[in-house]
């Protein structure tokens, strides 16, 4: 399989279903359609934003790309390697190239490990056992995320949320990865701290030529950090475009509603804008609606939407959407 040289990650028809077991004999009674057939690419050095509401499958997508879950179907290519087909040991070695930054900086750091051990652990896992070299590397990583290298013997509880998230970033960078999945890295932080972490992520990207998959539900922050943005709803992609196009000219009714729901810190703008208020809640992914998954809340829904799933197509160059009404 040969791909365009600039493509770092290529996802083809990724499906991730989680079985539901019930009863004493743990019979499978159903399946959670967490991710249902998505395809996209991520270019080298770009940031792809992934937005959607809770439970839409955006974190699952990130984890399935990194093979933290074994995908039910589909392929994930990193450069020219199909990760889905890799055996455990080659996959383990591959993990040096791709890392993850987690949402909750309180839960993702072991409280009984010092900062030096937390950041040094990935180095040791991949064969570095000279403790002096680890110390040096940890110090330079701490410096890179703008923390004082003297903090390396401290424990996570001695740090604030923003500082912990920096430790998480340093740990992800320890092995010089080229691809990082940022899974809601700023959602748990205060507003003034969010900007600090986002600026740090952007600086590191430039310095180290990193590629990000940036998962978030804060649409304005995603617009700020991403080159292209994908919108997810109930396990499927509904729209994907470069950020300016997506935010200026959204095509899919869900994207339009989502964008109009963003609270904007500008009272005059709020009075002028047209808000689309969606009714109801996101349906359960155990039993998603037939046809288009958004049809139960869509203001434009029609009979065809219930009968056929809309095709994922390139409406304009680089602008993909899945809707019968476009």
């Amino acid at each position: 399989m040969t791909t365009n040289n600039n493509v770092l990650i290529k996802v083809e028809n990724l499906v991730m279903h989680f079985p539901i077991y019930r009863g004493v004999i743990r019979r499978q009674v159903g399946v959670v359609h967490a991710v249902d057939g998505i395809s996209f690419t991520i270019q080298r050095g770009e940031t792809l934003g992934l937005v959607g509401e809770s439970g839409c499958g955006k974190s699952t997508t990130g984890r399935a790309i990194l093979q933290l879950y074994k995908p039910t179907a589909g392929n994930v290519y990193y450069k020219d390697t199909n990760l889905v087909k890799l055996r455990p040991e080659p996959m383990r070695l591959m993990r040096r190239e791709m890392q993850m930054i987690f949402q909750d900086p309180y839960a993702s750091l072991n409280p009984r490990m010092t900062v030096r051990d937390l950041i040094g652990e990935p180095l040791m896992a991949f064969g570095e056992n000279n403790s002096k070299q680890i110390d040096e590397r940890v110090a330079s990583l701490l410096d890179m995320v703008q923390l004082n290298p003297d903090f390396s013997s401290r424990y996570p509880h001695e740090f604030s949320g923003g500082q912990r998230q920096r430790i998480g970033v340093a740990r992800a960078l320890a092995l010089n990865p080229s691809f990082i999945v940022c899974d809601e890295p700023i959602s748990a932080l205060d507003v003034s701290i969010q900007a600090q972490v986002v600026n740090l992520l952007e600086e590191l990207q430039q310095e180290l030529n990193l590629t990000y998959l940036f998962i978030a539900h804060d649409l304005s922050m995603v617009r700020h950090i991403s080159n292209r943005v994908a919108v997810m709803y109930l396990g499927t992609f509904v729209e994907l475009a470069d950020r300016t196009t997506l935010y200026r000219k959204p095509l899919h009714p869900y994207t339009q509603a989502l964008l109009s729901a963003i609270p904007v810190a500008d009272p005059t703008y709020n009075e002028q804008r047209r808000r689309i208020i969606l009714e109801g809640d996101v349906p359960s992914p155990v039993n998603p609606p037939s046809g288009c998954r958004f049809r139960t809340r869509c203001p434009l829904a029609d009979t065809i939407c219930a009968e056929q799933s809309p095709e994922w197509r390139e409406v304009e160059p680089g602008h993909f959407a899945a809707c019968h009404k476009i």
Binding site: L219, A261, P263, V264, V282
Partner: protein, 330 residues
């Protein structure tokens, strides 16, 4: 609009912790008029929730203690009332909606039973009347098949629906003030938009005053008439919503607004970030609590803590520097 409905003066609340006494609220004064929506914004730990909880005497004591201040609600000081008197105000004339609808509803009690409780207590309704009123209220907040859903338990409701139930309960006794403490923070954007829309609609219909506590400047911009910005237990800026967003005067407010990405920005600019972290105050500061993070800081900021001063009609700021003329460090 004449006399303020609620007038708080010099409120101070402390918490005793093993590390020392935390000065959570330091002499906060504000008022709210009938039918007005007042927004309280600030980051975690700035004292916005503690201020409102103090007014309703919901601070766990110990470790918390209201040290000073008065809170006049229709001529009576809430802080001096007997426990019995304040209980009549709470949930009746002043009610509250909390952040997390899952933890503030009782998971082993049906929604109907939980809703009937305040109605029977405050309005002396019978069981049957309370049931009728509950159905009306659930209809009001947009829950379909209200009559059938009364016997359901909280886990059978979605997050947005649970928050609607909380609002219905808070409205059940026709309060004059509704205090909403981060009511939409735990919700998704589209659901948040539904709740904000619902509150606006109810405000018009029922005319109650609302105190909306949040860290989300966007929500405040679309809902509040007047906004208080809090930092380190102090109100550091107070203004009408349009003035605050168009012409912020405190460096912290300016920083907060600057750290938000603009939804209509096309050119990629670096986000403005406020360096450092919000403080925890173990003693009354004799410097401006924001000074260590401030870009406009001058000598005086380290020697005296500024108090709120009016700079324009209805716009007050606690800052020694006029940021329109002051010079910026960086």
């Amino acid at each position: 609009m004449g006399e303020p409905l609620l007038k708080v003066q010099g409120l101070e609340t402390h918490f005793k912790t093993p590390e020392g006494t935390v000065h959570a609220v330091n002499g906060v004064s504000f008022h709210i008029k009938e039918g007005e929506t007042l927004g309280f914004v600030g980051e975690s730990g700035c004292g916005k929730s503690v201020t409102m909880l103090s007014c309703l005497r919901l601070i766990p004591a110990p470790p918390g203690k209201i040290i000073a201040g008065e809170a006049f609600f229709k001529g009576n000081d809430l802080l001096k009332m007997t426990p019995d008197e304040i209980r009549h105000v709470r949930g009746g004339q002043i009610s509250m909606v909390f952040q997390d609808p899952m933890t503030s509803l009782n998971p082993v009690m049906s929604i109907g039973k939980q809703m009937a409780e305040p109605l029977m207590l405050h309005l002396n309704l019978t069981k049957e009347q309370a049931r009728k009123r509950s159905i009306e209220l659930l209809g009001l907040v947009g829950i379909p098949n209200a009559a059938d859903r009364l016997k359901d338990y909280p886990h059978q409701y979605s997050g947005g629906m649970r928050q609607r139930v909380m609002i219905a309960m808070a409205l059940s006794c026709n309060p004059q003030i509704l205090i909403a403490d981060e009511p939409t923070t735990a919700l998704d954007v589209t659901i948040q938009a539904q709740i904000v829309d619902l509150v606006k609609h109810l405000r018009e219909e029922l005319g109650m005053a609302i105190i909306w506590i949040t860290h989300d400047l966007g929500v405040v911009a679309s809902l509040a008439h007047r906004v208080m910005v809090m930092y380190g237990g102090y109100i550091i800026e107070e203004a009408n919503v349009n003035d605050l967003f168009a012409d912020p005067r405190h460096p912290y407010t300016v920083g907060l607004l600057g750290s938000l990405p603009k939804i209509h920005e096309d050119v990629h600019k670096k986000l403005f970030s406020i360096e450092g972290m919000p403080p925890v105050l173990y003693k009354k500061p004799n410097a401006c609590p924001f000074a260590p993070r401030c870009n406009w800081v001058i000598e005086r900021c380290w020697q005296e803590n500024p108090t709120l001063k009016t700079v324009m009609d209805g716009h007050s700021v606690a800052c020694w520097v006029d940021i329109r003329n002051g010079s910026k460090k960086r």
